[in-house]
Symmetry: C2
Subunit: 246 residues, 2 copies
C-alpha cells in the first residue's frame, strides 16, 4: 500500500520517520467506495476526516434544476480538511469518481497527530493552501481560458499532481473519468468536451483511451494551456524545516 499522503506532504518538507509512522497509523480504518458513491453529502454534518488512499473522488455542488459543477478533484493522497468540523454542515458533496478506498480518520485522532509536530502542522497548512490556490486557478480557467486551453490546463494539472504522488509511469497515468464528468469540471457541454478532446489528440498532445492518459507532448500541452505550475507549490518550499537537515 503506497502512502501517497506522505509522498504528497514531502513535496513540501521532508518528514522524520516518527512523523511518517504516525501518519501511517491514520490509515487504519479503510473503506471502499464504488464509482459514483457518495462519501459526504451537502447539508450533513461532517463526521470524519477523509483521506484518499486509492482512486479518485471529487467535490461537487448541484443547482436545483440538476446542473452540477465539480469544484475540486481529490486524487490519491488528497485530504478533506480537518478544520471542516467548525461548520455545522457540509456546503458541498464529495463522491467517488472511480472505485476508491478512503481512510476515515477520527477527527480528534487526526488533530492529535498533526498537532504533535510543528512540521506536520505546517505541512497540513501547506496542503490546505495548495487546495485553495487550485480552486482559484480553476476560477481563472473557467473565466478566462477557451475550451481548448481549459482542457489542456486540466490535463496538465492532473498529470503533475499524479506525478507528485508517484502515480505516473513513463508518460502515462490513470484517468478513469467519463467525458461527462470532465465536462462537469470544465463547465462545458459533454458534446463540446468530446470535440475539444479530439483537437488535443489531433494535435498530438495526448492520447486518452481505456482510462489511461498518455501525455505525448508535455511542453506543447503546457504551451496551449498557458500553464504555470506555480499554483501547485510543488517545489519543496518548506525545505528550511527539513527533518533530515536538523
Amino acid at each position: 500500500m503506497p502512502h501517497h499522503f506522505i509522498r504528497k506532504l514531502e513535496n513540501f518538507v521532508r518528514l522524520s520517520a516518527d512523523e511518517k509512522a504516525s501518519l501511517e497509523r491514520l490509515e487504519r480504518h479503510k473503506r471502499s467506495y464504488a464509482a459514483g458513491e457518495d462519501i459526504a453529502v451537502e447539508g450533513e454534518p461532517p463526521d470524519r476526516v477523509n483521506l484518499v488512499l486509492s482512486g479518485w473522488a471529487c467535490r461537487h455542488r448541484a443547482l436545483s434544476d440538476g446542473r452540477r459543477q465539480i469544484v475540486g478533484l481529490l486524487l490519491p493522497g488528497d485530504l478533506c480538511d480537518a478544520r471542516v468540523f467548525v461548520l455545522k454542515q457540509m456546503d458541498h458533496s464529495i463522491s467517488a469518481l472511480t472505485a476508491a478506498t478512503i481512510a476515515r480518520v477520527d477527527k480528534d485522532e487526526f488533530v492529535a497527530t498533526t498537532d504533535a509536530s510543528a512540521r506536520l502542522t505546517r505541512a497540513l497548512w501547506w496542503n490546505t493552501l495548495v487546495e485553495e490556490s487550485t480552486a482559484r486557478e480553476w476560477l481563472v480557467n473557467m473565466g478566462q481560458r477557451t475550451a481548448l486551453e481549459r482542457m489542456a490546463h486540466l490535463f496538465c494539472e492532473i498529470f503533475l499532481r499524479m506525478r507528485a504522488v508517484g502515480l505516473v509511469q513513463e508518460r502515462t497515468c490513470d484517468l478513469l473519468m467519463t467525458q461527462a464528468e470532465i465536462s462537469e469540471i470544465l463547465g462545458l457541454s459533454a458534446v463540446h468536451t468530446n470535440r475539444t478532446l479530439q483537437v488535443l489528440r489531433a494535435e498530438g498532445l495526448l492520447s486518452l483511451t481505456r482510462g489511461r492518459l498518455e501525455v505525448l507532448d508535455l511542453e506543447g500541452l503546457i504551451a496551449t494551456a498557458e500553464f504555470d505550475a506555480n499554483y501547485l507549490h510543488l517545489d519543496r518550499e518548506g525545505a528550511a524545516h527539513d527533518a533530515n537537515a536538523v
Copy 2:
C-alpha cells in the same frame, strides 16, 4: 472606526470583551491605498496579514497575454489569511478596488492573538472555510450559470456580505467597482456585462448608479440567481461556543 472584522466573526460566535479588545489592538498599523494600488503582488513573499478596514480589495491572477481574472472579493472586515506564510511566495495578487484602508498586522502578533483563545482560533477557521466555500460557489457560478444568473448571484452575495458587517442602509450599499471590474469577476466581456446589468435593471431587481447598489427586489434577485446563502455560513454555527453563554 467600525470594527467590521469583529462584526464579521460574530456571525459565527459571540466573542468576549477581552477577545474583542485583543482584535481591536491588531488594527493599530493602518495604511491607505488608492483605488487600483497593489497590496500584495504575485511572486513576492507574503509579509503581513492584511485586514480590510474600509473600502474594497480583490484577489486576482493574470495570464501572460493580459487576460485577468478576479478570484476573490475582500470587503470591509475581510482578512488575508495568516497561514499564507508557509508559502515562499504569493500565488496571486491583491489590489485595492476602491480607496481603502488596510490594517497590516505582524504575522507573529496575529498568531499570538488568535492562539490565545480557542474561540478565536475557531472563528478564524470559520472565516477561512467561508472564503474557501465562496471560491467554490464562484466556480459553480462560472461553470453552470448564465450571464444573467451569474450577475444576479454576485449582487446577492455582495449585498448579504455587506449586510453581515453592517454596511447596508435600507436596501442600499456601496458598490464602487467599474463594470470592467465586474466583468473580470464574472468572466464576461465588458460589453455583455453592461447589457446583462441593463436586464437586471429593466426587470426592476436593482438599481446601480454612482457607486451605489440598491436592491429593489431581493426575493426576485435571489430567484433569478438560484441563490442559496448556505455557502456563506452566516447562521452563527458556532453558537455552542458562545462567550456569553458560558
